[in-house]
Point group: C2
Chain length 211, copies 2
């Protein structure tokens, strides 16, 4: 069955949605189907303005290539988040490490949402390949997906979309439930649980022993 | 002085905002400055879903290359318009034949807005080069701007942004007022006047005699 998804990614000044800020948002809305079928419907990328006086830490600029001056004249976070959520609309939201990205989006809006329809490709990677590294770069490498310019939002979105098309099929073939599933582990504890999420606890070692 | 603009373009099923529908929206937000300086901040392009039962007329598909099936799974017009207006935010809105594009955007929202800050590159072309053809393709050609794939929204936006950077400077050098100015003429009557617009009536022949 084909489905409509909006894959998105944010870049930020740091990891904490309560004290850090979004610097870039990208999203692709697409129809996804069997055999890696992807039909793009639209895409959105924007820098996001920081609150007055806030700057991007040098180590983050080193990681992402995004400089404070790049954000001059950009939409503020509230506008950018509303734009991307309006763009996504009723489609299924997909992100790699979805709880992280959505915590920033919902943080900006000051509210969560009662009902969600999402998929986290990081959780899918853990569920499908429990003994492998579930980060975006190594997961893409395993599946032969090019990831150039990692940590620029649109590059990550393009890779995540391809990854989703592959992992979705693998999960369905194996009867693995992944809709609205997030993964918690001691190694990488969940810092935010999206409303309506199904939390699976997986420990790499333990999983290895069981498998 | 540099300024922040959001250049946008829509494609539609026809010319009448009351009976026709948006099929595609594209926008680029950018900082524009003297000497054709352009720094892109973000860009947004999406197909837009049609109401049930509506199809794109064959002659429009011929013009734009956009087919009814391309719009499957796209955001509806209300969501797409809200997304692009949130993205544009406080920036100056720019379009080639702005009254046409904004009539569709405001038509979808069911409201206009009290205060606008916009520029119409078609009006600017008429004001700067009163004897020339002010349509997008010939105006771009005069200024050496590439316009590939005219009538796909993002292509038109890219060309319009470059055109704006040039015409703005020419208008300012010549002391021509263009902010919020729209042009009305017998040859091409205004069908929609954006709230707050300054209407200039220009007839090509008459202008020629005067000049």
């Amino acid at each position: 069955m084909n489905e409509i998804v909006t894959v998105f990614d944010i870049e930020s000044t740091g990891l904490d949605p309560l004290t850090d800020h979004i610097t870039e948002i990208a999203a692709i809305r697409a129809e996804v189907g069997p055999g890696g079928y992807i039909r793009e419907i639209g895409r959105f990328q924007t820098y996001v303005a920081l609150p007055p006086g806030v700057e991007i830490p040098p180590k983050i600029t080193e990681l992402t290539g995004i400089k404070t001056e790049d954000l001059r004249g950009a939409p503020d976070a509230y506008c950018a988040v509303n734009a991307v959520l309006a763009f996504a609309g009723w489609s299924r939201r997909v992100a790699h490490n979805y709880p992280f990205d959505i915590s920033f989006l919902f943080g900006v809006r000051g509210i969560g949402e009662d009902e969600e329809d999402f998929a986290c490709t990081r959780a899918m990677s853990r569920l499908v390949d429990p003994d492998e590294n579930a980060s975006l770069a190594p997961t893409c490498e395993r599946y032969g997906i090019a990831l150039n310019g990692h940590h620029r939002a649109m590059n990550d979105v393009e890779a995540t979309l391809q990854l989703y098309a592959i992992l979705r099929e693998k999960a369905e073939v194996s009867g693995i439930t992944y809709r609205n599933v997030v993964v918690d582990s001691a190694e990488r504890p969940l810092t935010y649980t999206p409303p309506g999420a199904i939390v699976r606890t997986l420990e790499r070692k333990q999983t290895k022993e069981v498998a």
